[in-house]
Amino acid sequence: MVAQNVFFGIMALIMICAALKVVRTKNVVHAALWLVVVLGGVAGQFLLLGAEFVGVTQVLVYIGAVVVLLLFGVMLTKASLGEEADLNMPNRTLPAIIAALMFGVMTYALIDTFRDTELPRESVTNAATVSDSIFADYIVPFEAVSVLLLAALIGAVVVARKE
């Protein structure tokens, strides 16, 4: 139990640092790479929560696809591989205040509500359960998501193609 908590703590720390890096760094490519770290961490958290399949998907989809896509985006927008000056808004105090406020409110609310809620121990779900559920109970949302993906695909092509 302790081991898990320790593991969680380390991972959370890394993730928070990496996330901060993502929003603070001046190098676009670095930001993307830090993002990989965060996403990997999230995958680890999933495993910790017993959601193996989601974790694996996280790795595959995010690290394998989304980040690559983002990198492509970086390159296509001709960002310099080095540091870039004009990456941030001139005024960053306001965002910081808003984010902090929000964090405060949420922390208060969460702690107030779920102070002592323990997670169940044996709650590992395997891919079979998930897929059963997707293809039985959630078939309609699943189909909707498929259509959405298709639409996004077509949309992206339409938007990005050269006239």
């Binding site: 808004m89 306001l94 808003i98 406020l101 929000m102 409110v105 949420m106 208060y108 609310a109």
Partner: protein, 773 residues
């Protein structure tokens, strides 16, 4: 009823089931022209004779079928007769034990119907009483051949379609197919080269089919269907040359006037259906005769149906369409508006005679609506015929008048006479129309005064046949019209003067009108004959030379019809008129046509009277002589080309002048219908309704919409903007400057700003939620 039966000396007689291949398959007869209609419609124009061949072949085959039906029916009746004799023998032998006798009789009849007549009918054979003496004959009634199947079902009721063949139907089949065949042949020459030759034949076929369908109707629903279908064919054929407005007007008038009557037909039939619980003609008649339907209900039904008869059979006051219907081609007038369709009303009454007989209490009274309508029509239309210059219109009014005879006959209870007159009239009136058509074919006009005169020299065959048919129409012995007219007069009942005519009631009024009508008929027909065939030719042939006789295809039908007009009267030669014996050739028509069955009311039969026959003949001769003297002597003396006396009665007498004008204006009925009722409905009434619609209902709707919108505007502008918003505005005004500055600062279209505000607001709201909730 009991008293009536005693009076009439009759009751329901024994019934046996008729049968026979042709009778059972009589539906083929209307089917043939129907098929022909479809064929002409689809292939007519491509055929060698433009579709006429389909029509002629189909109607010819139908005619042969009809003749076979007639033959079989006569055979059936003869069988029944022979059976009756046998039964009388039984009667004499076993009169002591009546019950046993009836049992045997029952058995006998069953056997007869199954074995001798070869009919396998599962229906129970009703033997309600012994066969009785009837007009010197003993006879057993024959059940009509009824073949039917379910047409549709609704609300637990089944609606049948089928055929009902009895003497009446067989007679009509013969008349319709015969006249139709002749008209078809005649038309091939008459309308040759017409712009719509093929359509013409298509509608002739459709008409024949509809009429035959109507004739064979097993139930009143079918009657309605057939009735309307013949109406629409009539509409199409009257309006055959619809390019000219008068023709389409005439067609419309015919259809609409008939529709007015049809209202009566619908209502009357509906009343009958619900009160008898059946559509079947037999059931309804049975119910009426057996007092299963209340007298008042029957009266209402009869009155409604009388309205239908008035329109379809051109009775006063709904007759006005019939003369106008002459706008159609002449053969059509002969077929539809003289011989067949217009007698549909007569046929319908004859079919449902039980209803009318009981509803109007024909046997017990001396006055009823049918007799009144008939007799008024008879004289009224006869008078109108005098002032017409168009030969077809004269004939049309003559038709109206003759139909009046038939309706009157039905009204006074002389069923057989009415049907017989229908039969004879079909031939001579068709002959007259076709003759008139033949004349006009050669002079290209129908106007007797302007375009005819002296035609006997040019068209000898037409002239001869026309004369024969005219004499038949006048009712001069021994041609057809005489016998049927005489029977009607006899049927009007006992007027002491002429001895025991022994009718149902004593319809003195009808008798008087009938005799007046006879005189009128003679007079106006004499006028027609003079104006058309005598005197001097007044027409202009436009350089085509003299008028000439029509071709074979026109004259042969004329000759055939003239022959029929001569001979048909003998079919119902009165009993005891000459010989006093019971010889087998007298009253054959009545014997074969009149149903002897439970569904037929116990009508009485008049005894012919020499004095009446002589009297009516004398009256007719007076009519002919008077008109003949006027035209052949006085007018002719004035000038051979004259058409009337220059100093005639109308010049001398104001009363006569007024009467003449009244007749010229057709009793102003057309003005009433066209100008007042039709135009009134179409004009002021319809416009007023529409005005109400637009200015009343629709305006109300629009106003509701507009006022709602206005109210909304009011609420928005006055209340929301001024009062509620006023308060807001107060602070708003104050903060306007602030707002303006804020706007320039915040509303700059920067996404980041929007996002920041959004998140901040969310956070703040969430915070508030936590704090306060």
């Amino acid at each position: 009823m009991v008293a009536l039966s005693a009076l009439a000396g009759e009751g329901p007689t024994s019934l046996i089931q008729a049968g026979g291949w042709f009778l059972e398959k009589a539906w083929i007869i209307p089917a043939l022209p129907a098929i022909s209609f479809v064929l002409i419609l689809f292939f007519g124009k491509r055929m060698k004779y433009k579709g006429a061949e389909f029509g002629i072949i189909s109607i010819a085959v139908a005619f042969i079928f009809a003749i076979c039906c007639v033959g079989q029916w006569i055979g059936q009746v003869n069988n029944a007769d022979s059976y009756t004799e046998k039964q009388q023998y039984h009667d004499e032998e076993k009169h002591s034990d009546k019950a046993a006798h009836e049992g045997i009789l029952n058995e006998e009849i069953q056997r007869t119907s199954f074995n001798e007549l070869g009919v396998a009918s599962s229906e129970e054979i009703v033997v309600s009483a012994l066969a009785e003496e009837k007009d010197g004959y003993s006879s057993v009634g024959i059940k009509p051949v009824i073949e039917r199947f379910t047409w549709w079902e609704s609300g637990g009721r089944s609606f049948q379609v089928g055929i009902m063949v009895d003497g009446l139907a067989v007679m009509m089949l013969f008349v319709v197919t015969a006249i139709s065949l002749l008209v078809h042949i005649y038309s091939t020459e008459y309308v040759a080269g017409d712009r719509r030759y093929t359509h013409y034949f298509a509608f002739l076929s459709l008409f024949s089919a509809s009429m035959l369908f109507f004739v064979l109707s097993e139930n009143i629903l079918q009657t309605i269907v057939g009735w309307e279908l013949v109406g629409v064919c009539s509409f199409a054929l009257i309006g055959h040359w619809w390019e000219e407005k008068p023709n389409s007007d005439a067609a419309l008038k015919a259809f609409l006037t008939n529709r007015v009557g049809d209202m009566g037909l619908l209502v009357g039939m509906i009343v009958l259906f619900w009160s008898a619980g059946s559509w079947s003609i037999v059931d309804i008649n049975n119910a009426a005769i057996n007092n299963e339907i209340g007298q008042s209900t029957l009266l209402i039904a009869s009155l409604c149906l009388t309205a239908a008869v008035m329109s379809k059979s051109g009775q006063f006051i709904l007759h006005t369409w019939l003369p106008d219907a002459m706008a159609g081609p002449t053969p059509v007038s002969a077929l539809i508006h003289a011989a067949t369709m217009v007698v549909a009303g007569i046929y319908m009454v004859a079919r449902l005679y039980g209803v009318f007989f009981e509803g109007f209490d024909i046997a017990g009274s001396s006055f009823n609506v049918l007799a009144l309508v008939g007799s008024v029509t008879l004289v009224g239309a006869g008078l109108l015929a005098f002032v017409q210059d168009d030969i077809k219109k004269v004939l049309a009014y003559s038709t109206v008048s003759q139909l009046g005879y038939m309706v009157m006959a039905l009204g006074v209870g002389a069923w057989t006479a009415a049907v017989f007159h229908l039969f004879t009239h079909a031939f001579f009136k068709a002959g007259l129309f076709l003759g008139a058509g033949s004349v006009s074919h050669s002079v290209h006009s129908f106007d007797m005064k302007k375009s005819m005169g002296g035609m006997r020299k040019f068209m000898p065959t037409t002239y001869k046949t026309f004369i024969v048919c005219t004499i038949a129409l006048m009712g001069l012995p021994p041609l057809a019209g005489f016998w049927s007219k005489d029977e009607i007069l006899v049927g009007t009942g006992g007027w002491g003067l002429f001895g025991g005519t022994g009718g149902n009631g004593t319809y003195v009024f009808a008798l008087v009108m009938g005799i007046i009508g006879a005189a009128l008929t003679c007079a106006y027909m004499t006028r027609v004959i003079y104006l058309t065939f005598f005197g001097e030719f007044r027409g202009d042939t436009h350089g085509h030379g003299d008028p000439h006789e029509s071709g074979k295809r026109i004259t042969i039908p004329l000759v055939i019809l003239a022959v029929m007009a001569t001979g048909a009267g003998f079919l119902n030669f009165p009993v005891g008129f000459l010989t006093g014996s019971k010889a087998g050739w007298q009253e054959r028509f009545g014997h074969y046509v009149e149903p002897v069955a439970t569904y037929f009311p116990p009508i009485a039969h008049g005894t012919p009277s020499w004095s009446l026959a002589i009297f009516s003949t004398v009256v007719a001769i007076i009519g002919v002589s008077a008109a003949g003297y006027y035209f052949f002597v006085k007018v002719n003396a004035q000038s051979p080309a004259a058409t009337e006396l220059t100093n005639g009665l109308t010049e001398k007498s104001k009363v006569a002048k007024a009467g003449h004008t009244l007749l010229k204006q057709k009793y102003y009925l057309d003005h009433l219908y066209t100008d007042i009722i039709a135009n009134g409905t179409k004009g002021p009434v319809a416009d007023a309704t529409y005005w109400t619609n637009q200015k009343g209902i629709d305006e109300a709707v629009n106003q509701v919409g507009k006022q709602t919108a206005r109210a909304a505007t009011f609420v928005y502008e006055k209340i929301d903007q001024n009062m509620v918003d006023g308060v807001v505005n107060l602070s708003g005004k104050a903060s306007e400057g602030l707002g303006e500055t804020t706007r320039t600062i915040i509303q700059r279209g920067k996404i980041h700003q929007y996002a920041a505000i959004m998140f901040a607001a969310t956070t703040i709201l969430a915070g508030l939620l936590i704090v306060f909730v």
